[in-house]
Chain length 375, copies 2
């Protein structure tokens, strides 16, 4: 056993070295998933049934008769710490962007099942009442939250703003969002056995790191003499680049629905990077023949963390924030519909019969089924 | 201006003295509520409308056609700190009870609008991966969560278990739950103008402090030489009494629905104690003629915090965890239905025409409309 918690100061920095130890979380997750699965039967008393295929997917789906109900709660993670550090360095609040990130975590997961997001609830747990006393920051959070809701066509239902001294660290905030939506008509459900060999893989562009891999990105700052203010491109600091808000993809999936295109499956590319393309439980191969440009901030992280492509594409989104698996003859239409919504897209590859694996041909990379354990 | 943060070590301990300063949170809340209200119009693009009367209520409601959709996210608050302290003192994990508390925070709010809860999502944000390494505690959390879901007939859809070092304090966990339900048939909606003079007030018993007032309860420990192990009744420590899990009230509201009883309004008695009986926006008077027994732990807190009845009933639930406002001729039936679900209940008073106020006759107390500002 190696000590994953002690990074080599000048060597490769892996995700576990940045402080998140999945081996400790995973047994709980397995127990929780097992217990949760056993509660699905409770819906029968109401005359409803769960969509079993949604267990282990990014959102939970229940058949409530006229349509399916989808719901989720998602955490921002540690990205707010970057905003706090940049506020100290520049005096500017980035919480408008942070708000969008938080909503994106929930919305981009909810839409993977084919749901239209309808209501978002805010969970803003501060380390003390005084967090809310910085009105510039608080107003930025409110404004960014509302703008993201408007962009996604959802109602902001309300939420919680507890002051949790002793639980949330002093001066910090724990941000999360819950989202409820419906799959309507039910044929929009993009789970189960729709996915098959011959489908095309359409990748939607990311804006940067989004809100996954931030523990690694923050750890890296220790290696940079100028820290977050290190220029990664002319006039663009590392910190500002990290804080580019996550793309909201629901305008694209809703536009697809209006055009009569139902993805066979979707993957929100978050933690585990492109390994998320292996998310569907079926034994299928995924062949990528073209890759999107890598955002400057991700290329910078890869270089300074000394990650090879296998590690970088297995950890970060590397320019692809969301994957649509669609009928091959609709792939180009998907690209055009996404672009019309302001989201760059490309037909990147295809699904093939074969063992579960992901092949990224332009980079000579391959990931097997043993490299993604989400269920 | 007085310094509310410095309690007199031997005098009355108010809620603000326990560390939560609402004046700092409230401007943000007002801004957030205003921005949230403006997003309700986004639902029109989907062909849906919000139930405007649900703005400012305990759960947000949307008319989605065949029924209403209700959703919410709720935080446990600081009760987990009591469990942590008691674990240190006794070696026992109370996280099964803490799990029920967390779910109760969401479920008991959701049902106030007349909704049947269907799906709960777990939000368990730990201060580091190692929180999950204590398997006894983690298993208690999972088991308690499942048991509460089973009791309420909801499906546990999934959730988030992030490790948030630097945001959540080391060794702590920030617990929250989101809940989605439906109001079905729509006539079950218990918001708006159904409430009127002549309605009866039925109070459902609490099990103790539930999960509100814990900042005060924890502050009080500093005054007790034996701290959480102080006996408040033979064989019952203060800490153990505080950790009695919150009553889950959805089995009662669902049983009422099966009996054809639709409350005209409901109030979940949480923060602000009995002032929550003033929650409905209408100008009506609430006259209480009989009060439930006060749980030993709440009587203990009142005495040691040297609160008079006005402060105690305006802060703590004092034995009443949930209020049903029902047609007078169904009030006794409500009591019997609640008891059949194992929840003690009583017809406590009635709604009258008159200015907005709450009169608790047996104690000679009165609260005016200026004593509850929730909207």
């Amino acid at each position: 056993m190696t000590d994953a918690s002690r990074p080599d100061a000048h060597g490769t920095l892996s995700y576990e070295q940045s402080g998140v130890v999945y081996d400790l979380i995973d047994p709980l997750k397995v127990a929780a998933q097992r217990a949760a699965a056993a509660t699905g039967a409770n819906l029968a008393a109401h005359g409803f049934t769960e969509i079993v295929a949604s267990r282990g997917e990014s959102a939970y789906v229940v058949d409530v008769g006229p349509f399916h109900l989808a719901s989720i709660v998602e955490c921002l993670g540690s990205k707010a710490l970057v905003a706090d550090a940049m506020h100290e360095l520049t005096g500017r609040s980035w919480y408008d962007a942070i708000a969008q990130d938080t909503i994106a975590m929930a919305i981009n997961d909810l839409i993977t099942v084919g749901a239209t997001p309808l209501v978002v609830q805010a969970y803003w747990a501060a380390g003390g009442s005084d967090w809310f006393g910085d009105s510039q920051r608080a107003q930025a959070l409110v404004a960014g939250w509302k703008a993201a809701c408007d962009r996604c066509g959802v109602a902001w239902g309300g939420g919680e703003t507890p002051a949790l001294a002793g639980i949330v660290a002093d001066g910090r905030i724990d941000l999360a969002a819950s989202c409820t939506g419906i799959v309507n008509p039910k044929t929009r459900l993009s789970l189960g056995d729709k996915l098959g060999a011959g489908d095309a893989i359409v990748l939607l562009a990311s804006s940067g790191i989004h809100a996954n891999g931030l523990s690694l990105a923050r750890k890296l700052v220790e290696r940079l003499p100028q820290g977050y203010l290190t220029e990664i491109a002319p006039g663009l600091s590392y910190g500002a680049a990290l804080l580019a808000p996550t793309v909201l993809y629901s305008p694209v999936t809703e536009a697809l629905a209006r055009s009569g295109i139902v993805p066979h499956y979707c993957a929100n590319i978050t933690g585990h990077g492109w390994r998320k393309l292996l998310r569907h439980p079926a034994a299928l191969s995924y062949r990528i023949e073209a890759i999107p440009p890598v955002p400057a901030v991700l290329r910078f992280i890869q270089q300074h963390a000394r990650q090879d492509n296998h590690e970088a594409y297995g950890t970060l989104n590397m320019g692809a924030g969301f994957a649509l698996f669609v009928a091959a003859d609709r792939a180009q239409a998907c690209v055009e519909i996404a672009r019309a919504q302001g989201v760059e897209a490309m037909v990147a590859g295809r699904v093939e019969a074969g063992p579960k694996r992901l092949v990224i041909e332009p980079l000579g990379l391959e990931y097997g089924s043993d490299e993604l354990q989400l269920r």
